[in-house]
Each structure stands twice: as C-alpha cells, then as structure tokens.
C-alpha cells in the first residue's frame, strides 16, 4: 500500500466518521465537529491527489518529480471556506444556547414544533 492509497483510505474513514456524527449526534457542538471532520476528509483527499504523480505531469517519473500544486491551492481555498463556516456555526450555537438554554437538537426541535402549533414568536435580544 502506497502512502497515497493510505491517505485516500484515511480520508474515506474520516468522512464516514463525520457523516456518522452528523446523523447520530444530538449535541450542536458535536455536529459542528462532525462537519469539520468531513471537510478535513475532502482536504486530505485533495492534498493526497496532488502528491500522486500521474501521467502528463511535469517531472513525473524523473528525479525532478514534484507534487502538483493545483490541488494544494484548492485545499487552501477549501480551508478558508471551512474555517469561516465553522466560525459562523459556532457563533450561531452561542445564540442558540442563549435562547433555548440547551445544546440538544431534539429539545430545540421540540420547542420549534410547540411554537409552530401554538406560541407566538419572540425576538431574541442582540448579543
């Protein structure tokens, strides 16, 4: 098994862990962590695909062989997008906690269902 195959397998494993987390976890922070997991999996796969020298690349098969920089540039952009999304999610979690006094998705959903059926909606203070 080459190092690239190992990286792909690791990416697949991390992706599965993240997907499992999104589907089963009830805690908002754990869900956000799972989202970060699947983003990391994509980045890992991108970096690995850049390392893999394949036909037609400059320097492939010679002593000058080098990693393809394009997937690495894509991964950098992906990191920026992932970090900003995570920051936004965490700030939302703070607002949600101030509001519902819980981080449990099921409790929050219950509260919403109650609201849709009876209660009027209240505005949350800024902060």
């Amino acid at each position: 098994m080459t190092v690239v195959t190992a990286a792909y397998l690791a990416a697949a494993a991390v992706f599965c862990v993240g997907l499992y987390g999104i589907m089963t976890k009830r805690n908002l922070i754990r869900i956000t962590m799972s989202v970060s997991f699947i983003e990391s999996a994509a980045l890992l796969a991108l970096v690995a695909s850049g390392y893999e020298a394949f036909g037609g690349r400059p320097g492939a098969g010679t002593e000058m062989a080098c990693a393809d920089p394009v997937p690495h540039a894509l991964a950098l952009t992906g990191i920026v997008i992932g970090v900003s999304t995570t920051a936004l999610a965490l700030s939302l979690i703070i607002k949600l906690y101030k509001n519902y006094h819980t981080l449990d998705v099921a409790d929050i959903k219950d509260a919403r269902r109650r609201w849709l059926n009876e209660e009027p909606e209240g505005r949350v203070g800024a902060g």
Partner: protein, 502 residues
C-alpha cells in the same frame, strides 16, 4: 476590451464591501448606496444578456473573457452564454424587487442586510459566468454564506435553528462538490469546464461517474431536491419576507443552473442514467412538495414547500435532456422567480397586517389589504398554472416535452401536482377573504409601508404578462437551452480561440 463579465461580479462585491465605509459618512446613505448597487448590477446584467443574445444571433456562440489575459485552459476564463446571462438577469431583477420591498420593510438600522444581499448577488453572478468547476464551487459557497447570514440575521428563535440546520446541510453539500472536483481533476488534470467536456469521455468511467453522482447530490442538497429538502422549508420560511423571497425566488436557482451546466454541457447530456435519476428526483419533489404544502399550518412554510415542488418541475425538465425539456426548465426558472417572489412579498404584507403567519390567523386580512390580496391571488393562479398566467406556459411546455420524450408517467405528474396546488392555494384565498379571524398574533415583523405594494403589484402583473406575451420569454428560454445543450460550440468558444468578449 469590454469588461462586462468581470463587472457583473465586481460591481456587487464592491458595493457590498464599501457599504460600511458609506455608513461612516452618513448612515442615511446606506439605502441609496445599496439601491445604486442593485441598479448598476441590473444595467450590467442587461448589457451582458444583450451581448450574449447578439453573439448567438450572429452565430458566434458563447463569449469568453480570459481573466488577466491568460487563455483557457491555463488561465481562468469567464464564459457568457444565454443561459448564464439569463441567470444574471433573473438575479438582478429579483434583487431589485427585493430591495424596493426592503426599503419599505427592513429597518435602516440593519445595515448587515444590505451587505449580505449584495454578496448574494455577487455569488449568483459568479455562478452565472464562471467557466471552471472550482470557481463554480467558490461562488456557490459565497451564495450559501450570504444566505446563512440572511436567514439568521433577525435572530428569532425559529430562524436560528433553521439557519443552523441549513448550514450543516450546506457544508455537507460543499464537501461533496469538493470531492467531485478532486475526482475530475485527478482523472483529467484540468478544472476548465470546456476542457473537461473534451477530456471526460476518455477518462476512467468509474471516476467520472462517481464525480457526476457527487455533483448531482451536492447541487441537489442546495436546491432542495426531495429527499434532500428537509432543511429548506424552515430556512426559507423563517427569515424576514424579503429574505424568503430572495432565497426561494433567486438563490436556489444558482444550484439548479450549476446542475444543468455540469450535467448538460460538461457531461454532454443526460445519458448514462443521470437523466432517469433527475426525472425520478424531480417527480418525487413534485409529489412530496405539493403533499407537504397541503398540510402546513404556517403560511411561509407552505410557500417554501411549494418551492420544493417547483424545483421538481425544473429538475425534471433538465432530466429530460431534450431541447424542449430544458427550455421548459429555463422558462420555469424565470417564471418561478417572478411568482414565488410575488407570493412571499405579498404574504409578508398580509402576515404583518394579520400579526401572524399562521394560516388560522390570517382570516379576513383581505379586507385590510385588498390590492395585496389580489396580487397574492394572481401569483397563486400563476403558480398553479391557470391558463392566462405564466405558470401555465412552462408547465404545458414541460408536459409536452415529457410526452414527446416518451416519459408518460413523469408528464402525468405535472397536472397531478397542479390539482394538489390548486387545492391549497384556493384554500388560502378562501381563508384570506372569508375566513374567521381566529387568532391575534404577536410577531415582531413591522407592517411594511404602503409602497411595498409597488413591487408586489409589479410581480403580479409580470406573472400575467409573461403568460399573455409568452413568445419573447419562451424564445429566450429556448436560446438558453440551446446554449446549455450545445457542448461542442461551448468547447470551441473557450478552447478553439473563439470569439473574445469585446
């Protein structure tokens, strides 16, 4: 050298980023600044559409704008054809309408709102002109980030929860697109859509198909295709009404356009089973969306479920893959933008007057706002597909295209959906006019000022006019379909030293 394609993205970005500086000068300038940005963007989008239509009429095909002068496939090129230009025009008009409505309803204090709308417009425009898959991904993420902010910026309990769920689904969809991009780059060594269209047929079949599946699921998540729609009704139903209108009427079209571009142009049409999958998903969305809308108790959630169904019509048209089917889809994109924006905006006025968006609380609101109610009913008739209105034309086209493609079951789902939607829209109209006023709501949404009626009435008129004078819009839709389906001309324009944008 004419820089319109770049300006389509740069203008809204500039107006978004400079908005806080304008605030420093005078806080009252904020609205005029935002309004100027939207108007200027509309002018650019209209100019771009004219250029694309003229080029197509002259037999030149898509226009290419190599950024920094680097030719494709080495540099990044923007590509403008009638499909992309149509998306740009729909975005610009939708943003203008929403902006006029916002002047009447969003408080001037909420400066974030105007920045986010400009960012959304920039992202949509980027999707419309991007010529490579990675720019497409980045601009879709920009659209998504702007809409996360728009859904949650009022910070009501409901919108916070909806926004969080929307973000989780959005991040998952972005990751799937990233995997797909990794796969196509690994098997073809390029990101340019035109170059991919050339190289993908010779690429390893499993990798190309896996990438296609990932693209379809990723875009489907953002477009709210059943069974990936569970975030949509809450996200589209919980923000302020101008935001709901922008989200449902405009922003969702970015993912639909990306889906059409990848499937029809990059993958050369709908063979290899993807057409069947899209028709099935579209049919499923029509049935589930309409049935779920039937049992909603919240006005804006009902309209959001109706969006799920309408996206189903559009995706079914794309999945048919014929010229008529794709044209029906393109026409329905424009129609749905008009009708659903009109419905959400008039629902915003009615709900604010009633003090609630719960359907049992909006009885007799028609007496308080007769013209708004008439506009609401006109847009409802249009979206049901009653003959003199716009929805009828695109739905008729879709049924016709489905039958001539031999997909009788899919074609029959369209009238079935029409009947179901007639039930819930007529029920709404009945409650608005004759219903008992059973509940006094306490929502915080302020009643918009009287001129909010202007965009609402304009949309109602447009949904009627597009049904009467349908030949012009229909020709534009066929033009967009031609450009989406003709991969060969697209490739020649980008790679073969075709016409530069000038």
């Amino acid at each position: 050298m004419n820089h319109l394609p770049a300006l389509l993205v740069v203008v809204p970005l500039f107006f978004a980023m400079a908005a806080p500086l304008v605030d420093i000068i005078h806080i009252g300038l904020r609205r005029f600044w935002a309004f100027a940005g939207v108007l200027l963007h509309l002018a650019v989008a209209a100019g771009l559409y004219r250029a694309a239509a003229a080029a197509a009429a002259g037999g030149i095909g898509p226009l290419v704008y190599p950024l920094g002068g680097w030719p494709a496939p080495y540099g990044i090129s923007l590509v403008v054809d009638r499909a992309g230009a149509l998306l740009g025009l729909v975005t610009a008009l939708g943003a203008l309408i929403a902006q006029i409505y916002s002047l009447a309803s969003i408080h001037a204090r909420d400066g974030k709102y105007y920045v986010l709308v400009e960012l959304l417009v920039a992202g949509m425009s980027g999707v419309a002109v991007s010529g490579d898959v990675f720019s497409l991904y980045v601009f879709l993420e920009l659209v998504a980030s702007a809409t996360y902010g728009l859904v949650t910026f009022e910070r009501t309990r409901y919108s916070l929860e909806a926004g969080f769920r929307y973000m989780t689904f959005g991040a998952l969809s972005g990751t799937l697109m990233l995997f797909a991009i990794m796969l196509v780059y690994r098997s073809c060594g390029t990101l340019s859509m035109a170059h991919l269209a050339v190289l993908l047929p010779a690429a390893p079949r499993p990798a190309a198909l896996a990438a296609l599946v990932l693209f379809v699921v990723g875009f489907g998540l953002r477009a709210g295709l059943v069974p990936l729609h569970t975030w949509l009704p809450d996200a589209h139903g919980s923000g302020p009404s101008a935001v709901s209108a922008l989200l449902s009427g405009v922003s969702i079209k970015a993912s639909v356009y990306a889906l059409a571009r990848i499937v029809l142009t990059v993958y050369h049409g709908v063979d290899s089973g993807v057409g069947d999958a899209l028709v099935v998903l579209g049919g499923l969305s029509i049935v589930v969306g309409h049935l779920m809308a039937l049992r909603q108790t919240h006005l804006k959630r009902l309209l959001a479920y109706s969006t799920v169904a309408q996206v189903g019509y559009i995706v079914m048209g794309i999945g048919l893959g014929t010229r008529e089917g794709v044209a029906a889809a393109a026409f329905h994109v424009a129609n749905h933008a008009v009708m659903k924006t009109g419905l959400f905006l008039s629902a915003g006025i009615l709900g604010a007057l009633a003090g609630t968006f719960k359907i049992r609380g909006i009885g007799r609101t028609a007496l308080m706002a007769p013209y708004t109610t008439i506009s609401f009913i006109a847009c409802s008739l249009a979206i049901i597909g009653v003959p003199p209105f716009a929805g009828f034309v695109s739905k008729w086209q879709l049924v016709d295209a489905a039958y001539s493609a031999g997909r009788y079951l899919a074609g029959s789902l369209v009238p079935v959906g029409t009947v179901i939607s007639a039930v819930y829209y007529f029920r709404l109209a009945g409650i608005l006019i004759f219903g008992a006023h059973r509940e006094h709501g306490l929502i915080h949404e302020p009643v918009p000022r009287a001129f909010a009626l202007v965009p609402v009435a304009a949309l109602a008129l447009a949904s009627w006019a597009m049904g009467i004078f349908y030949s012009g819009p229909l020709a534009a839709a066929f033009g967009a379909a031609d450009d989406l389906l003709n991969a060969e001309r697209y490739v020649r324009a980008v790679l073969g030293g075709g016409a530069l944008f000038q």
